[in-house]
Symmetry: C2
Amino acid sequence: MNPRPDPAHTSGLIEQLEVASTRFAQPRSAPERVADFLREEIVQGRLVSGTQLTEESISGTLSVARNTVREAFTLLTGERLVIREAHRGVFVTRLSLPDIEDLYRMRRIIEPSALRSGPEFGPSSIESLQAAVRDGLSARESGDRHGVASANQSWHRVVVGLAGSKRLNHTMSGLLAEMRLIFAQMGNVEDFHIKYLVRNAEITDRAISGERDEAARGLDTYLEEAIADIQERLC
Amino acid sequence: MNPRPDPAHTSGLIEQLEVASTRFAQPRSAPERVADFLREEIVQGRLVSGTQLTEESISGTLSVARNTVREAFTLLTGERLVIREAHRGVFVTRLSLPDIEDLYRMRRIIEPSALRSGPEFGPSSIESLQAAVRDGLSARESGDRHGVASANQSWHRVVVGLAGSKRLNHTMSGLLAEMRLIFAQMGNVEDFHIKYLVRNAEITDRAISGERDEAARGLDTYLEEAIADIQERLC
DNA sequence: ACCTAACGATTGTTCAACAATTGCACAATA
DNA sequence: TATTGTGCAATTGTTGAACAATCGTTAGGT
């Protein structure tokens, strides 16, 4: 009871206002802009894992004060994309295998559970799932590796979105950013996501046809295999 | 396979080192100390929801620079304990009912799933669960309301800890801090946790005796009822 | 080869200044 | 009276410079 709002359906005017208005659209502050820039550089792999980010160089190239860079660093530290070592500096996070395992452990707690959650899914949720699947498949057709990875992430994001929790979505975004960092630092993962496209499709079908429990279990073993896959590639 | 490390058992030397050593024990920086102080004031209800935290007053009373206070604010903003409104200031977060519902939605995704996760629980995990239950009951005996609330939080923390994910634990800590803020701003919640002590005990027993699925479902309805309880108190 | 001292560079924190924005009091107007 | 401007005080946002604290390294001594 108390039907959970259909997350995808909530793209009406009211929701848009909800999102945009903490006080209209707040233009991002300088530290946020710096963090945005660095975050993108990191997850796209242009800033390699382990690289030191010196305050002066960044404040120089972006023309902001050192204090501003500093705040951007604390932002990114909270997202675990950089690590701060006292009196030594901040470095692009280098995800260890235990880290990666930890990440997948958390995903295995969240994602299957989201797939199992609440009453039935709304039509727009279903549509979003299918859209992500379709995007992935068509990206594969056109040989767009980046598109495949992106669609895959999108699918997982939608899955978690099914739970309809803003906070959970935010947390998931953080995890996905870390995932991108993993792949960025691994390299040679061009074909990594491809094999999972079909799984996404299968799980989507099951979830839609009401076989929620089977879908959830499928997603769990999916993630279990994925981490095993990574473990293999790293050893 | 690949037996998940027993989280409670990991309170040995190695784990302590793990925790303490990012580079030995890093003494907390000034912004962190300020954030620590404010966080405690907030979750204990000494700083009421909606209160504005002006940079000057805090930098004055704590004898730190405005910049430092500023960084502390971005820290707390990330934890959602304060909200920053551009050019207006930061205020102790006022959790709305939708916020609280969101919080419980997320907990309902995570906690039952953690209870269901992995292979069997290790002996020390079981012991930690039982300890939290015991602490809650004995706190009730001695009429220690704060002790009851604390033990309850401790139980939920242990439950999530069963998953053995550092990241998930960290996320859960954030959620629990928000929970404390909720109760702080609600007031009159002295007896709120008491009725759930028995549930904790029941669920613990089920989880221990291998009835994981029943335990998980029990925890889900537990949380469902808890949010309903709160909704009632607020209307 | 090993310990030690000194140095340079970077981070941590403070302080002061100024621009930008908000909220409000106050006045002007319909 | 109600409403619309206008100016002002206060607070935030950002910058720049300064200095202390710490780290890594290099040079020098044993």
